[in-house]
Structure formats: C-alpha cells, structure tokens
C-alpha cells in the first residue's frame, strides 16, 4: 500500500477512536508533545500506561476478591488508574474507574466486581486499538512517509 493510502487509513482510524469515545483530547496533547527531540514519546508513554495498568488490574482483582474487602485499598488503586488513564486520554477506561469508585463508597462488593469486569473490557479494547494504531504508524514510517496529525 502506498504512503498516501496508509496515511489516510491512519487518520480515519484515529478519528474513529475519538468518535467512539475511546480517546479524548488528552491523547492529542501527547501527540503534540512528540517532536524530533522526542520522536517516540507517544509510544513510550502509552507503553508505561500498559505496564502500570496491568499491575493495577492485577492488584485490584486480588483486593476485590478478598473475603473482607478493604474498600480504602480498592479506592486507592482505582484513583491511581483513573489518574493514569485520564493522563493519556483513555476516556472510557477513566469513566469505568469513576463507576467503581461510587460503588466503593457504598461498599457494594458485587457491583464493584461487575464494574471491574467492565473496566477490564474497556482497558483491553483501548489497548488493542492503540496497538493497531501504532502498527499503522510503523507501516507509514517504513513506507518512507510522515505520520499525519488529526486536526
């Protein structure tokens, strides 16, 4: 596929992620911060996000699965996840975190568990989509083109 087509595909794909509410303006912020002095900034930041998220989800699963749930602990994990997801613009992940927090306040274990499942699904979805996006970027660069930015 030639460069122009790849670039169009990339822009359409990016636009769809914003339209579906998977990403918000904060992701564009990250793209703006990428430049010649920081050429892999977005990939690096998102990779850090994946690492942090996987650990948080693991810790959350254990915390919510305890006989006696420590809601303060659960809330602390979710607060962190909310912060990191909002800092990269993973809007639906952030919203899933907000949902868990309200059930934490009510100390509703079952609802927390349901929300955790939802959170895992949203995370999985945005992770797959972002990895697809980076693959498209790579194809553009390998074909000798520049990665376009969505206006």
């Amino acid at each position: 596929m030639e460069v122009g087509q790849l670039q169009r595909r990339f822009l359409e794909y990016t636009a769809s992620l914003f339209n579906q509410g998977l990403l918000d303006g904060q992701f564009q912020q990250l793209q703006q911060l990428q430049d010649e002095s920081n050429p892999d900034f977005v990939v690096e930041v998102v990779s850090l996000f994946f690492e942090d998220s996987e650990k948080l989800l693991h810790d959350l699963t254990i915390a919510i699965g305890q006989q006696t749930v420590d809601f303060k602990k659960v809330d602390a994990y979710v607060h962190q996840f909310k912060g990191s997801s909002s800092s990269i613009g993973a809007q639906r992940v952030r919203n899933a975190c907000i949902a868990i927090r309200s059930f934490c306040e009510e100390q509703n274990v079952e609802a927390c568990m349901r929300c955790l499942l939802q959170l895992k699904q949203e995370y999985s979805l945005v992770k797959d989509k972002l990895q697809d996006l980076f693959r498209l970027e790579q194809q553009i660069v390998e074909a000798g083109g520049a990665v376009p930015m969505l206006e």
Binding site: Q26, Q29, L30, Q32, L33, N38, F41, E44, V45, L48, F49, D52, A76, H79, Q80, K82, G83, S84, S86, S87, I88
Partner: protein, 166 residues
C-alpha cells in the same frame, strides 16, 4: 476595585500572544524558569517533563514529598553559603497530592517552615485530580498558591503561568 477595560484588554493580549494558536512564541515561552516536579508515578513524571520542556523550563524531579523537602532544604542551604546574590532555587514547585513516604500537604507545610528560616517563598502549585472539597482547603492552609487540575495541559498551563507572572 475597578479595573479599566484597557488594562484588562492589554493584559489579555499579553497572555494570548504567548499561545501558539495566536502566533505566539512556540519556542520556549517560559525559558529560563526552573521547576521542581514532585510526583511518584513514572507516567505522570514523563508527561509533566515533556510539557514543561516544551515550554522551555528546566525541570528537576522528586519522587515524593520527603525527597522534595530534602532537595529544597539543601538548595536553600547551599544558596546561603554561596557568594552569589540570593535568588529562589526554583521558580515554582509542582506538587502532587497523594504520594508515599510524605504526601503533598505535609511536604508543602514542611517546605514552608524551611523557607521561613530564609525569608523566601517559592510558589507551590498542587497538581490534583480534585477540584473542590476538604483536600483543597487543606492544601490552601498548608500554603499552596493554586490548584492545577489533572491532567496537565500545555495551553492551560502556558496561560496560567504567564498570567501568574504578570
């Protein structure tokens, strides 16, 4: 207090001129400033660093409130013993709220106590997910100048820091 329309307008233009959207100095509008970023999470450190570097700021990082206190104390002590004229070791401190070892509120309080010995005052901005509530009150009581909400944003930060200077 009444502010006349002209000075309001000129102040607005001064701030707007700095923004890239208005043909402002894209290159380093806050060049020469030195900021201490106090944040425990790698991801957020990386983003704060990129945003502040883009604005031309020199950054140092402390991983928690305790490290920040040590860093600031040492910098103030070093300045006292140096020959050069006194100046603030940092133009601003960006302080995260929730951190291990020592949190943002305790760190702010302790830094203020330390500063009092030297008669200086470094503006501390909280970087918090909260926009109101008891935590914000506590921050203000501890000595925080302003709460920058998370996540940090280049345009909002540029506008805020520029107007803070004026």
């Amino acid at each position: 207090m009444l502010i006349d329309r002209d000075s309001c307008r000129s102040r607005l233009y001064q701030v707007l001129k700095l923004l890239p959207e208005f043909g402002g100095e894209v290159d380093k509008p806050l060049s020469g400033k030195k900021v201490l970023v106090v944040e425990d999470e790698n991801l957020l450190q990386k983003i704060a660093t990129a945003i502040l570097s883009r604005l031309g700021v020199t950054i140092e990082i402390s991983n928690n409130g305790h490290e920040a206190l040590q860093t600031v104390s040492k910098a103030l002590e070093d300045q006292r013993t140096s020959e050069s004229p006194p100046s603030l070791p940092y133009d601003y401190i960006f302080m995260d709220f929730q951190m291990p070892v020592m949190d943002g509120i305790a760190a702010t309080r302790r830094i203020r106590e330390e500063e009092a010995k030297y008669g200086v005052h470094i503006p501390i901005f909280a970087v918090s997910a909260h926009t109101d509530g008891p935590e914000i009150q506590q921050m203000k009581q501890a000595g925080v100048a302003y709460n920058l909400s998370k996540p940090l944003n280049i345009a909002k930060l540029t506008e805020f820091l520029s107007s803070f200077e004026i």
